[in-house]
Symmetry: D2
Subunit: 257 residues, 4 copies
């Protein structure tokens, strides 16, 4: 059994009914944008939050179990030492409140990955603190909402690509384009091509210590990518691939010999 | 001074007026295709052959000198031991007569690259014998004539990308698409995105022994890509990058110590 | 069930009692060396040939089955198209008769690896023809018989290192030293350190098409490395890792789309 | 002209005559160790500090200029925004006071590397904060003082290895051994082999954004490695290789297009 913890920021889903601390100085236009976004997300995610959508994806596999869900508001308990110690793979979706995650938690996630926890960063999580801690680059990119994507597999024997066709068409997806400022991937699995002509290293694996990091670009909050069976399969494969429960270290230290 | 040798198959350019041995069993349709192709190439290359076009690109740089040109018909003398020993960078364009290059020459090229000669394989040269000898994979791909390409730089500090914009638009280019069956590039410099939605690892570097290999996808025979200044700059950069005249070995051998 | 084929040159084992074609111009000293070597191998391998030793290693695992064994003298039938098509992992041990393997067989092996067959090259097989075909470099190195080796794992989560201690001491092993002229490994698993102070990339993985290549340096013919449990475990792990029976292609070709 | 800034912790050099804040709870034995270490360093470095030794290495090259030197005590001004903006290559030597460098400075260094500054981390700097920020791994290792090292080049055409013999013998060096918990190097240049049998990836390059990171293991404070001409050559080569003054960015940001 692979134990999964999902962190979903869970901010945009609530912007119609709730105001967060970091919104203090949001102007009228931002507030209106937020309310509309909340409605769009609700439509795309069938009334649920993004973590509900993700949970169902993983729980299609008998050997994957979502044990914990954390959000921006519950980050302290939801991503505590105890929770991460019990987590084989952490899944991270976030977008507009990266700065509201504490540095301490970002480093806690990094430390657990180094000791063997897998982590999957989704879509706009490319700018989240734990990913920056693990990769060391800015992870900046070009972007534009409202495009379509073809996701091409450039590594057909990779475990994350198992059972996935050579090309997946996403009728609606946010364009993320190169230059994507990441370290050279240890394993490049997917390259995305967008309707507007841009390309992107959309599926990348890096090893960090005893843990594996997978970044996967599809998954804009208002689109239906996560409901497409091939995308679901990729996420399930990624959970299996990044999990390494047999080799979880207590600590990493320099040893005199 | 970097000494360049250009191998251009120089077959399609002549198909209007000449028949090659390997065409013995070409049917009427193939012959007609050949004659048309010859005309199209002449138009695209301003009356010259592809090696004339390439020669002019390199000779825009004062420190690059095209010392030799070889073709399918002159391969024996044109790619002799003496010529390759005098070559810092070999440039290879070929398409329909890969099999007509002798195994001996393919291995001679491989051996010189291993001992420090640079090599640039262009466009349809992805299936040529020396590239197979050096890479060890099938180099197969998807293709379609008559598309457009956007060439994106995913490695902006790479010497081959020096002075080149983040995106180069090629109004006409042959689509080459993933899965491109190559070894993981040591350095991935460009990714192409095509009008039809396909993507391709269009600019790749591999180290082989003391030599460097650069594969560059643009350059279909009937299009004008090689006349575009940014593409010319990339080829010039690649000649500088793959040349290593200071470290040319006499031989590689196992040494007892 | 993973189906393994072992190629062992099986030349040195017979040099006491038999003369091979390629020995025609061997002088007296070479003949004497051969006879002594045969005796030493018999001692180290408990009276059997190297392929007997290897067979027993793989057959310690219930899911590994050695279906075929080929030698220099039986290469034509032993490594036929039919045999390779039935092989999930090919294991190659060879030393003094690399040139006696036909180019056709070397390319047949290369082609099957590209289509998904795993291959494990052992020790002096670093100079064999199929490895050259797959890697494209000279694979030259420094060497000296009669040393000891410490084999260090520099990739502790790699499947080939599973269950293996961080250091394996080999009291007797042939020194293979850098510069080892190989392409940058896709995965570097072990680095050897020798009594004489040399170092070597002793365990390396490369992907070639749909197949995986593992090179593993220990295994000099007259030493007992293959009888050490940790070395056996590495070879068993490597067979599991390089096998990919689910993705064996019929052919690789360029496809118009 | 390449502008270099050297950060040397400059703590151990002063431990005979001075007490640092972080030593508050040092026991008698630590104090005695410190005094002895100060004497040993003075002997090894000819009466100077480690930054004096390093400065002289770079200033052997006409196009390298050490413009700034910073120490633990002067880190605020010595590694200010202004200083780093004026720095093409930052050289970092540190050992016992990594924690005394502020997080802010560590991130400032990381940010400047991402925007194009080169950085060279020396020896015990493997545990310094900026290296952790850039690499994302623990950088832990095995160690033992009082060994000898042979430094082997496994990448003979790499610019950092230019003019350097295939093996450099260091009569006295601290053993650093695998497993070294680093991301897979983009370029592995040197592997060290130690008298005690250990091995280590001693010279590694990673690209991070527009900047290059070089880690180089030799350089224990009480030994004479930095006075050996081949080691000096490597450091000079590394300064040239990691410098990229032509491509220094003002900022890295996500851009809507």
């Amino acid at each position: 059994m692979i134990r999964i913890t999902i962190y979903n920021e869970f901010v945009q889903e609530q912007l119609k009914t709730k105001k967060f601390d970091f919104q203090k100085d949001w102007g009228e236009e931002s507030v209106r944008w937020g309310a509309e976004r909340a409605e769009e997300i609700a439509r795309a995610h069938e009334g649920g939050a993004i973590h509900d959508t993700l949970k169902k994806i993983f729980e299609e596999c008998e050997d994957l179990k979502v044990c914990h869900t954390a959000t921006l508001e519950t980050q302290e308990e939801g991503l505590s030492e105890e929770v991460l110690r019990d987590t084989d793979v952490l899944v991270w979706w976030a977008h507009i409140a990266h700065d509201q995650v504490s540095d301490e938690i970002a480093r806690r996630v990094r430390d657990h990955v180094q000791k063997g926890m897998g982590v999957i960063f989704l879509h706009s999580a490319h700018m989240c603190k734990p990913m920056a801690e693990l990769l060391g680059t800015s992870c900046t990119l070009r972007w534009r909402e409202g495009d379509s994507e073809r996701l091409w597999c450039c590594n057909p024997t990779h475990p994350i690509a198992k059972g996935v066709p050579e090309c997946i068409f996403l009728e609606e997806e946010e364009m993320y384009g190169e230059y994507f400022d990441i370290p050279k991937p240890d394993e490049l699995v997917f390259i995305g091509g967008f309707g507007g002509g841009e390309v992107f290293r959309s599926g990348c694996v890096w090893n960090r210590g005893y843990g594996k990091v997978f970044y996967f670009q599809p998954g804009h909050e208002t689109y239906r990518s996560y409901f497409q069976p091939d995308i679901r399969r990729i996420l399930q494969n990624a959970a299996h691939y990044t999990a390494n429960p047999e080799m979880r270290l207590e600590k990493l230290e320099c040893l005199p010999v």
